[in-house]
Symmetry: C2
Subunit: 136 residues, 2 copies
DNA sequence: TCCCATACTGACACCGGGTGTCGATAAGGT
DNA sequence: ACCTTATCGACACCCGGTGTCAGTATGGGA
């Protein structure tokens, strides 16, 4: 179902821009918007267009290589995560992110949906709070 | 914590436009965007501006009178729900919505967050699938 | 019933995240 | 090297939503 990280799709070319985005995502640990990432790359001297960043992040998300989260303002943010199914615990102040698992939740969602006659069930679960460091 | 439905806030005036939106929300049973609601009101002959619909829905949401859901496209959609804490099971085709409860999920979210040192914990849980009627 | 301060309305300009276009560029197979 | 074509990125554009502000209407008081 899930494919390993360095997937090489035929017809896909490896460019300097994509490498730069991939490298940056490896270094970051929290969710960042396309503009954040573009800004950071420019700061580091990478010549790259905002459109390219938008498109590349979206492609990575479509390929399942990175996770997408919508901020309350509706802005998309991205993060390189582990391959296994999980959810996120995010600090509303510093955006520190922890991957969490919850088999009980998975089962509950499935059960509730089936009981109501639903199929092809999907779900979103996100926990937001203020981390210990941000409460000083 | 939660206040009952017909809250009268001092300084708040009851207008024809707000009444129309409130009435429509009572009749609808699924999540609708501001533009959906505006369109439906115009179809019914209500003279009302789109800006007013946007603002009123947002105010109702802020007051906790209606629930907000963000579509995958980032668009906000609204629905009048029950007063108790619940989550939603939504059909991705017809948008049919079922309110569901899950005490186990509430506890799990709280526990996981506390274990990682988080406070002021909030969470979002939504289940999406295809309802029986939409599988014919 | 009339008055009036002011909450509300809504047309319009504007904002900002994101997408379509398309000529220029550069992978990478041969 | 050469050539096909995926990719880039400046730019125009889309669209949901917000700020502005002159005009309107509510509702508490006289
Ligand atoms: Mn899950
Ligand atoms: Mn809950
Ligand atoms: Zn924090
Ligand atoms: Zn359905």
């Amino acid at each position: 179902m899930t494919e390993s990280r360095p997937t090489v799709v035929p017809g896909q070319r490896s460019t300097r821009q994509r490498a730069a985005i991939g490298d940056l995502l490896d270094q970051l640990d929290d969710f960042r918007s396309a503009q954040d990432i573009h800004e950071e790359l420019r700061r580091r001297g990478e010549g790259i267009g905002l459109t390219t960043v938008y498109r590349t992040l979206q492609a990575l998300a479509d390929a399942g290589e990175i996770d997408v989260l919508r901020t309350s303002a509706g802005e998309a943010s991205y993060r390189r995560c582990s391959d296994t199914h999980h959810h996120h615990l995010v600090c509303r102040v510093c955006r520190r992110t922890v991957e969490v698992e919850g088999p009980a939740v998975e089962h509950w969602a499935e059960k509730v949906a089936v009981e109501h006659g639903f199929a092809q069930i999907d779900h979103t679960v996100e926990i937001i709070g203020t981390c210990s460091g941000c409460r000083s």
